[in-house]
């Protein structure tokens, strides 16, 4: 009987404890990550290291890229040191949910599945698929592709989207992989290519044979900074930093540096 009561009370205590942790744990954490970061003096940021120009390892073996610059900018504004945590695209969200990182700045796109698990700040980087071409050939929108030739990589998002919206007499040349698509453009076999802005920036970095200019957008999916659910204070603070960086031109400078293009107005 006594044993049983003990068991009962233990159980009750456990339930109460869990409930309390549940109630207050979240409540406490809500305001805490920002304070925690300031107390600790370091901001832990999950960044990519295999996705240039957003994040890659430079010749000095240090991470470099758009996302790293962004992390340093936020650290600087918060007045704390930045600790970079290299992540892959599959484990970047778990790093947040398990509390191993304070922010994920890893060219993260927003979608409903992710929004159910983590929160997002405002967008900090443009990411889109578009049609690119030489600077001296004008092309304003998809309708003007009529009679023109565009190379795409077969089965890519660009291929699927452009196949739906391109005019009937536009020629889509579908190549096997990204390299062939790019070669077709660089060797002058096609007038335009449809690809990601990141890829286009990468091509412009590597060769000046036939520089690519953004002609128009196919699908817009900008990058957001991810943070744990319910961190309103941190979210507000980071949003403020992003807004300020956008205004004073420092975000534009990062875009110019890594993407070879100014920040699009709609971001």
């Amino acid at each position: 009987m006594k044993n049983r009561r003990t068991l009962m009370s233990t159980f009750a205590g456990l339930v109460a404890g869990l409930t309390l942790t549940g109630l207050f744990g979240v409540g406490l954490a809500q305001a805490d990550v920002l304070d925690e970061v300031k107390q600790r003096g370091t901001l832990r940021v999950a960044v990519p290291q295999d996705f240039p120009p957003f994040g890659s390892v430079g010749t000095d073996l240090k991470p470099r890229g758009y996302d790293i610059d962004m992390a340093n900018l936020i650290g600087e504004k918060l007045g704390v040191k930045v600790e970079l945590i290299p992540v892959t695209s599959t484990n970047r969200v778990p790093y947040l949910t398990t509390g191993k990182a304070d922010l994920v700045i890893s060219s993260l796109g927003k979608n409903p599945e992710r929004e159910a698990v983590i929160d997002f700040t405002d967008a900090y980087a443009p990411f889109f698929n578009g049609v690119f071409g030489p600077t001296d050939v004008p092309l304003a929108d998809v309708e003007q592709l009529a009679g023109k030739t565009v190379a795409v990589t077969r089965g890519s998002v660009e291929d699927l989207e452009l196949s739906k919206i391109a005019p009937k007499n536009a020629t889509l040349k579908r190549f096997e992989d990204n390299n062939s698509t790019i070669s077709a453009y660089l060797s002058g076999q096609v007038e335009f290519i449809a690809t990601g802005n990141v890829v286009a920036a990468g091509v412009n970095d590597l060769t000046k044979v036939r520089p690519l200019e953004t002609k128009f957008l196919i699908k817009n999916s900008p990058c957001y900074i991810g943070l744990a659910k319910g961190e309103a204070a941190l979210q507000a603070q980071v949003n403020q930093i992003i807004a300020q960086a956008r205004q004073d031109g420092s975000l534009n400078a990062i875009a110019e540096r890594w993407l070879n293009a100014p920040l699009p107005a709609e971001l």
């Binding site: 077969r154 040349k173 579908r174 190549f175 096997e176 070669s183 077709a184 060797s187 002058g188 076999q189």
Partner: protein, 222 residues
């Protein structure tokens, strides 16, 4: 979790597959005709050691037979524009096939020509045939008759090899298959149907070439 086969997902694109197959056959027809013509020229140059041409074809045969078809194709399509030679993808595909088949058929036909018995040429001379007549009736036709089966195989190899042309966006059968597969993700069904189509086309080409052989090449020599 058993895989559910869905061939309807492939057959709803049958117009694409048929167009692709037609394009493959057209490529093969043009490639084979021009390639064999080139091969005859090469074989004669090599067998009779014609000045200049012998050496030229010798280098050509070695270069083409010892390099991958895909690399030759990429060189023509992606490489040559640097020299200002720009071709559409089907022109590049046909050219690559002609060049490729030309090299192989040069050697195949040369074997046939070199197997011509000396006595046959002497007989032609004693019958007062002109050199052209002797070449046509006494050398070339028996030579082709001897190596016809080998040549047929080579044409079929080239037809199957044209699948590689999908890499430069030539819209032949493999391109159509890859295209459909990238839309419906039905790899098993798509490639099974495509395989069957290639098999059928190869058998068809063999029948046609056998008929051409009987009618125009072998028939009147045996």
């Amino acid at each position: 979790m058993a895989y559910r086969f869905d061939f309807a997902a492939v057959f709803q694109h049958s117009d694409l597959l048929l167009a692709g197959a037609g394009f493959t056959l057209a490529l093969t027809a043009v490639g084979a005709a021009a390639g064999i013509a080139l091969g005859i020229l090469g074989a004669v140059s090599r067998a009779w050691r014609l000045p200049l041409l012998n050496g030229l074809f010798g280098v050509y045969v070695e270069v083409i037979r010892n390099t991958p078809f895909l690399v030759q194709l990429f060189f023509i399509f992606f490489g040559l524009p640097a020299l200002g030679v720009k071709m559409t993808e089907w022109q590049a595909a046909v050219l690559a096939m002609v060049i490729n088949l030309g090299a192989y058929s040069t050697e195949i036909i040369r074997a046939g020509i070199q197997a011509t018995p000396r006595g046959q040429l002497e007989a032609a001379e004693s019958l007062a045939l002109t050199r052209l007549q002797a070449f046509r009736h006494v050398v070339l036709r028996p030579a082709l008759a001897r190596i016809w089966p080998a040549l047929n195989s080579q044409v079929i190899i080239v037809m199957l090899g044209s699948a590689v042309c999908s890499q430069i966006a030539t819209e032949e059968l493999t391109f159509a298959a890859n295209f459909i597969q990238s839309r419906n993700f039905r790899a098993f069904e798509t490639y099974l149907v495509t395989t069957a189509m290639y098999l059928f086309m190869a058998l068809l080409i063999r029948q046609v070439l056998a008929w051409v052989g009987r009618r125009f090449v072998i028939g009147r020599t045996r």
